[in-house]
C-alpha cells in the first residue's frame, strides 16, 4: 500500500528522517557550542551575551605561569604514563595470547576489572591507599624503608597519578592489543620458528610490525586521555603540592567554574584542542613514515 508520496520522493526523504534526530542533537549541542565558544574565546561573558575584546584572553593565557605550568605538568604525566602503560599492556597481551598459559578467560577478566570502576571512586580509593598512614606507606615501612610523603613531594605526587592511571587503563589497552594479536596468523610464527628465529626475534620481526596500527591507535587514545585528565588531579592531589599536578583540564575547570572566567576558559579549551590535533597528527605521521 503506497500512500500519496511517490517512491522517489520517499527515498529522498527517508535518509533525513533516519539521520535527523541525531543531526538535530549534533547541531544544537556540538556545532552551536563550538561556534559560541570560539566567539567567547575572543571576549567575555557579560549579562547574557558576549562582549568582544580581541586577543586578550589568549594573551593572558600565554603569560599566565599557572597555565603554562599546567601544560608542562600534563606533558610530564603523559610522557611517563603512556609508554609505561603501553609496554605493560603489550607484555600482558602477549602472555594472554601465549600457548603456555591456561585459564586465559580468568586472567583476561581479572585484568579487565579496573576498567569498570568509575574515575571518582578509584581516585578516592587511591588517595587513601597513598595516604601518609595508608596501605602503601605501611607496606614500605614494613619492608624497612622510610615511608614516602606522596602528597608533599611534587615528583611523588606526579608518580601517584601515573600509578593510578596505569592501574586503571592498562587492562583496557591489554584487551585491545590482545585483539590485534589474535588476528596475526599463527603460521607466520611457525614459519619463523622453522627458519630458526627465536622468540625474541619473532616478537620484534613479526609481532611488533603487524601490531603497529593497533599500537598506534592505543597510543593516540592514551595520549588524548592524558591531555584531558581531570578527575585524578582534582580528587587525589587537588592539583598540589604547589600546583605541580594541576593539569590543563583542572586549570580550565577552576578558571571556568570556580572563577567563572568563561572567556579565558574557552580560549584555553582551544589551546587544548590544538594540542590534541597536533599530537594526533604527529603520531599518525610517525606511524606512516615507519611503514614506508
Amino acid at each position: 500500500m503506497r500512500t500519496g508520496m511517490s517512491y522517489k520522493r520517499k527515498m529522498k526523504l527517508a535518509p533525513w528522517c533516519f539521520i535527523g534526530p541525531f543531526l538535530i542533537v549534533f547541531l544544537l549541542f556540538t556545532v552551536y557550542p563550538v561556534f559560541y565558544s570560539v566567539a567567547l574565546s575572543f571576549g567575555t561573558y557579560k549579562a547574557g551575551s558576549v562582549k568582544f575584546f580581541g586577543l586578550r584572553n589568549y594573551r593572558y593565557l600565554l603569560s599566565d605561569k599557572t597555565f603554562l605550568q599546567s601544560i608542562l605538568n600534563t606533558f610530564k604525566i603523559g610522557i611517563i604514563q603512556v609508554p609505561l602503560m603501553i609496554i605493560l599492556a603489550l607484555v600482558f597481551a602477549c602472555l594472554l595470547n601465549s600457548k603456555l598459559v591456561k585459564g586465559k578467560g580468568f586472567f583476561r577478566m581479572a585484568i579487565f576489572i579496573p576498567v569498570l570502576i568509575d574515575a571518582v571512586s578509584y581516585s578516592v580509593i587511591f588517595s587513601l591507599l597513598f595516604n601518609d598512614q595508608g596501605f602503601i606507606n605501611n607496606m614500605i615501612s614494613r619492608l624497612g624503608f622510610t615511608p614516602a610523603s606522596w602528597y608533599t613531594n611534587p615528583w611523588l605526587a606526579t608518580m601517584m597519578i601515573v600509578i593510578a592511571q596505569t592501574w586503571k587503563w592498562t587492562g583496557y589497552n591489554t584487551i585491545i592489543i590482545l585483539s590485534g594479536l589474535q588476528n596475526i596468523p599463527s603460521e607466520l610464527y611457525e614459519a619463523a620458528a622453522i627458519d630458526g628465529a627465536g622468540r625474541i626475534q619473532q616478537f620484534f620481526s613479526i609481532t611488533i610490525p603487524l601490531l603497529k596500527n593497533m599500537i598506534l591507535m592505543v597510543m593516540v587514545t592514551s595520549v588524548n586521555g592524558a591531555v584531558q585528565m581531570f578527575t585524578e588531579p582534582n580528587i587525589i592531589t587537588h592539583g598540589g603540592p604547589t600546583g605541580s599536578t594541576t593539569t590543563v583540564m583542572k586549570y580550565l575547570y577552576d578558571m571556568g567554574f570556580k572563577n567563572f572566567n568563561f572567556g579565558i576558559a574557552c580560549a584555553g579549551s582551544y589551546v587544548i584542542v590544538l594540542i590534541v590535533v597536533v599530537l594526533t597528527l604527529i603520531q599518525l605521521r610517525a606511524g606512516k613514515e615507519d611503514a614506508a
Binding site: 527515498m11 529522498k12 527517508a14 535518509p15 533525513w16 528522517c17 533516519f18 539521520i19 534526530p21 549534533f26 549541542f29 556540538t30 556545532v31 552551536y32 557550542p33 563550538v34 559560541y36 565558544s37 567567547l40 561573558y45 600482558f92 594472554l96 603456555l100 598459559v101 586472567f107 581479572a110 585484568i111 579487565f112 576489572i113 568509575d118 574515575a119 571518582v120 571512586s121 578516592v124 580509593i125 587511591f126 588517595s127 587513601l128 591507599l129 595516604n131 598512614q133 605501611n138 592501574w167 585491545i176 590482545l178 591507535m217 591531555v227 584531558q228 581531570f230 578527575t231 583540564m249 575547570y253 571556568g256 567554574f257 568563561f262 576558559a265 574557552c266 579549551s269 587544548i272 584542542v273
Partner: protein, 275 residues
C-alpha cells in the same frame, strides 16, 4: 622442554602479580567499608573485616542521600543508553543504506567532531543550558552526551554489511522504511547494539565532569559527584563511610559486568577495532 616450563612459570608469575595488583584495591575497598577510621589505616586490619559497617552506613546517610544519588546515576545512565541506541542506530542506518547529496561530507564532519573533547564544550553548554533552564536537570547531562559520534560510526559499520537484498525484498512487499528498519534490520544488530549499550552505560555511569558542572542539588547528584563531595579536603567524615560510598558506586557495574561478561570484553574489542 625445560625451557618452556620455565617460560610458563614466569608467565604465570607475571600474570598473578598483575591480577593481584588489579584486584587488591577492590578487596581493600570492600574491607575498608567495614572499618573505623583507625582501622582503615591500621596494617593489621588490611585483610580483616572491621566492626563498623553499620555505623559507616549511618554516617554516610548523614552526609549524603546516597540512595537518591544511586537512583540519579541509574536513571541518567539508562535513559542516556536507550537514547544513544535509538539515535545512533537510526543515523548509522541512514548513512549506511541510503545515497544522498552531502552524505560523505556530513559523515566526515561528525567524525571530525570526535577530536573535540567533550569537556572542552562545557562552558558554552553551561551557558546554553542556563538559558534553556536545563542546568541542575538530568536532561542537561543526557543531552550533552548524545552527540557523540562513536556510536554512529559503530552502527554504520555494522549496517554496511547488512544484506541489501533483504531490505529490497521488504520494500517490494510494501513494508515502509521505518517498519523495515525496526522489524528487519534492528533485530539483526544485536551484537553491535549490545557493545554500544555497554560502552554508553559504563561511560555515563562514570561521567564526572558534566554532572559536576551542571548539578547543584545534593539529591540530584550522581554517585561520582556525591562521592567527590565527601572526598574534599577538610571534610570531616570517616573513611569507612567514604569507602562504603565507593562500594555502592562499583557494585552495580560489577553485577552488570558479571552478567554480560563476554559481551563486555568483546564490546570493548569491537569498539577498538572499528574505532
Amino acid at each position: 622442554m625445560k625451557k618452556s616450563r620455565l617460560a610458563a612459570a614466569v608467565s604465570y608469575a607475571v600474570l598473578f602479580v598483575c591480577v593481584i595488583c588489579a584486584l587488591f584495591p577492590y578487596l581493600w575497598t570492600f574491607l575498608a567499608a567495614t572499618h573505623t577510621n583507625a582501622q582503615v589505616f591500621h596494617f593489621d586490619y588490611t585483610f580483616r573485616l572491621g566492626t563498623n559497617l553499620i555505623q559507616n552506613y549511618h554516617d554516610l546517610l548523614e552526609e549524603l542521600p546516597i540512595w537518591n544519588n544511586l537512583f540519579s546515576s541509574l536513571f541518567v545512565a539508562t535513559v542516556y543508553t536507550v537514547l544513544v541506541l535509538l539515535l545512533d542506530s537510526m543515523a548509522g542506518y541512514g548513512f549506511a543504506q541510503y545515497r544522498f547529496p552531502g552524505r560523505n561530507i556530513l559523515f566526515v564532519i561528525i567524525l571530525a567532531a570526535m577530536m573535540i573533547p567533550a569537556q572542552v564544550l562545557m562552558v558554552p553548554l553551561y551557558i546554553q543550558f542556563s538559558k534553556m533552564a536545563l542546568t541542575d536537570t538530568y536532561a542537561g547531562i543526557i543531552l550533552s552526551g548524545l552527540p557523540g559520534a562513536f556510536g554512529v560510526f559503530l552502527m554504520r559499520q555494522s549496517m554496511l554489511s547488512f544484506p541489501r537484498e533483504l531490505i529490497e525484498a521488504a520494500r517490494i512487499d510494501g513494508s515502509g522504511e521505518a517498519k523495515t528498519f525496526f522489524t528487519i534490520v534492528i533485530p539483526n544488530m544485536k551484537p553491535a547494539l549490545t557493545s554500544l549499550a555497554i560502552l554508553s552505560f559504563v561511560n555515563q555511569w562514570g561521567n564526572y565532569y558534566v554532572p559536576l558542572v551542571l548539578l547543584n542539588t545534593k539529591e540530584k547528584y550522581t554517585i561520582p559527584v556525591a562521592i567527590s563531595l565527601l572526598a574534599q579536603p577538610n571534610f570531616d567524615i570517616n573513611y569507612g563511610a567514604l569507602m562504603l560510598g565507593a562500594c555502592m558506586a562499583v557494585l552495580p557495574i560489577m553485577v552488570f559486568f558479571l552478567i554480560f561478561q563476554r559481551n563486555f570484553i568483546e564490546g570493548m574489542m569491537v569498539g577498538a577495532v572499528k574505532g
